[in-house]
């Protein structure tokens, strides 16, 4: 079963370090949880390794809902990765 490409969005210093605000990627079957995605992305090159050098600080949202890194991505249409929020 092959997966459809998913829209991956990056914000704040994750976006700056990778040099992209979004891209479409077909995720391998081995990427099940949000944490799997962070580890898989960090292997895509130096810029990604830099963006995800402290994986525990990365927050993940699936279809605009926060999820924990041990939670499954499911049939996400859009996944966002970003640092802890600093609004308000």
């Amino acid at each position: 079963m092959s997966r459809e490409p998913v829209l991956i969005r990056y914000f704040a210093w994750v976006r700056e370090r990778i040099g992209l605000s979004e891209e479409r990627l077909a995720l391998p079957e081995t990427v099940v949880t949000a944490g799997d995605l962070v580890r898989w992305l960090s292997g895509r090159g130096d810029a990604y390794a830099f963006a995800f050098e402290t994986p525990d600080t990365i927050r993940v949202a699936v279809d605009q809902l926060h999820i924990e890194q041990d939670e499954a991505l499911g049939d996400a249409r859009e996944i966002a990765l970003f640092p802890p929020m600093t609004g308000g």
Binding site: M85, G87, G88
Partner: protein, 160 residues
Amino acid sequence: MAATEPRIIVRVGPDDFDVGAEIDALQAGDPAVGAVTSFVGYCRDEGGRLAALELEYYPGMAEAEIGRVVNEAVARWPLYAITVVHRGGRIKPGERIVLVAVSSSHRDAAFAACDYVMDFLKTRAPFWKKEHPADRSEGGWVEAKAHDDARAERWKGEKG
């Protein structure tokens, strides 16, 4: 308890807001309203060090996440209306960033709900601040504060 569904307004974008008009609109001639509380957050100059803040946000999710926090507050306290406005883009010291305003019959619910919404807006709404220093050096991203997490944490298990 408010008899009708609370009126909820959530706005995210570059535009400034009129604090007086927003607060007046919460009472809106409704004689049941006995209390309106509000919080206005401003950009500080950090002792002259800061020229501006760049507020980045996740369009769509920013409004949705604030909406989820507001719905929790509405379920927890008897409120008539809530307005949340959060600006994005470049904001200079002295300019407004955020408004949370709440109306209820009594001040206890209005104060608590306003406090609750601010605490979770800070820890859950997808906004990020980048500093533009006055000396034109390369600015850095503001780091999340443990203090903000601790403030949000104190609502757990506590009844409104």
